[in-house]
Amino acid sequence: MNLLYDAAIAPFADFAFMRRALVAILALALGSGPVGVFLVLRRMSLIGDTMAHSVLPGAALGFMIAGLSLPAMSLGGFIAGLAVALLSGLVSRHTPQKEDASFASFFLISLAGGVLLVSLKGSAVDLMHVLFGSVLAVDDAALLLMATISSLSLVGFAALYRALIAECFDPAFLATAGGRGGLAHTAFLVVVVLNMVSAFQALGTLMAVGLMMLPATAARFWARDVWGMILAATGIALLSGYLGLALSFSADLPSGPAIVLTAGVIYLLSLIAGVKDGLIWRLVARRHLSA
């Protein structure tokens, strides 16, 4: 019993920085769940990764101008991420190039620019901070920012939900019915970038999508409709964050990778044992129905 308390509760009861990290991860998970599910449903799983990296030059520019200032780095990251997302969207809508190819192009330009900026003005330590983040070091301002972004995301999703479903499923029908699918897509990209900015505070640009994509891909094995997937993904993100933080404390591991790896383990377990098409259920011979 004591062992369980020591591993699961004591770190958060005893240390303010762990409580702060837990709240940060909870805020992150609430926004990331729906974002990840829609990225998967829109077949943009890998684009999420490129968008996470594309916030780097903006964050670096913010760092160069204002030092380790959260508002400056966040605003810079948001602008850079949004620029990459919108430019890629424009190119794919107005030229024959597909969205994944244009995203890859702009994100590489952005990433290289970011690394160059950091190496020109910063130190290796600064670069590590931007690349890997530090959920154990989030301060009040960062917490407030993450909670605000999370709240905005949830409100944004409530407003966008129906249009996003319609646009994913059959964009041509939506257009003929007078729906503005392009606007919904752009608004969705803004929400994605906001969540990337929030995630990079805690997990860094390298792993910002970890808590977004792994719970979403795992959710596919637990729920069959979009609402169910969103609930499952959010729950898995919350669980991964909590278990990852506890693990990082007790085993003295870096927190970001511990959280993302926990999400990875949950994904693998879901893949094997998930009640919706998990591997076990495919292997177990169940008698067929009569009709």
């Binding site: 407003a159 499923f169 041509a172 029908f173 257009a175 007078g178 409709d225």
Partner: protein, 246 residues
């Protein structure tokens, strides 16, 4: 009588090559027109143009009243993401988009309309099934129910019977006839000429340009069909600049 829709010398191009070339004419109110032609004739492109999904390079498409301006569009099945986890009920509810948009609630009367549409296509009781788990024929029935729920005066069906079995075709044809009786204007892309002869009063035969348009028996003559078949699908990279109507 004012036509439902007029095409004024429309041309649609891909990479400057015409897919629809100087097509003009009127669709009468309440007409039921089969749109036929060989592969590459521009049928789907013309339907997308009418639906407003493409813009003409030249010419204009004019919609005339009455009606709420809505178009009941049934795209080719390949344009739909059938792996998307959406229920049959929600697919049909999308037909109400003009009334509910992105935010308004689906009212009791609308739920009744969704149920009636599913009943009409023989899928009552399928509301909670996932669209992707249905057979091809059942999916097409769901999409017909969505068109029905939209209550549009102009209906565009792009190859609604491709890969459908006889029973499904018969049931869906019955719906098309019902919409015809209700005075809705319909344009239906088809390949089966015998089907067109039996069920469609009007026919538009195209091969990028217009071959013939009018009463089906006057359009589907051996000469017109031979002209349409002789169309080359190939584009010529060094073709001359077009100097006007075909």
């Amino acid at each position: 009588m004012t036509p439902a829709l007029s095409l004024r010398d429309v041309t649609v191009t891909y990479d400057r090559h015409p897919a629809v070339h100087h097509v003009g004419g009127d669709f009468a109110q309440g007409s039921l027109t089969a749109l036929i032609g060989p592969n590459g004739a521009g049928k789907s492109t013309l339907v997308k143009l009418i639906a407003g999904l493409l813009s003409p390079s030249e010419g204009t498409v004019l919609r005339h009243g009455p009606g709420d301006g809505g178009i009941g569009y049934l795209p080719q099945m390949s344009a739909i993401d059938d792996s998307f986890p959406i229920t049959v009920h929600d697919v049909v509810a999308l037909g109400l988009w003009r009334r509910i948009g992105a935010f308004a609630p689906v009212t009791g009367g609308m739920l009744g309309r969704i149920a009636a549409a599913l009943e009409a296509v023989g899928l009552a009781g399928f509301e909670d099934r996932l669209f992707g788990a249905l057979s091809a024929g059942q999916r097409q029935r769901v999409l017909f129910a969505r068109v029905m729920a939209s209550d549009s005066r102009l209906i565009l069906l792009d190859e609604p019977f491709s890969a459908m079995d006889e029973r499904t075709i018969a049931d869906l044809l019955h719906l098309i006839e019902r919409w015809h009786d209700e005075g809705r204007t319909q344009i239906v892309v088809l390949h089966d000429i015998e089907l067109v002869r039996r069920f469609f009063p009007d026919c538009l035969l195209m091969a990028r340009g217009l071959v013939a348009w009018g009463a089906t028996d006057t359009v589907l003559t051996p000469e017109n069909l031979a002209r349409a078949r002789s169309m080359s699908e190939a584009w010529f990279p060094d073709a001359d600049i077009c100097q006007g109507a075909a």
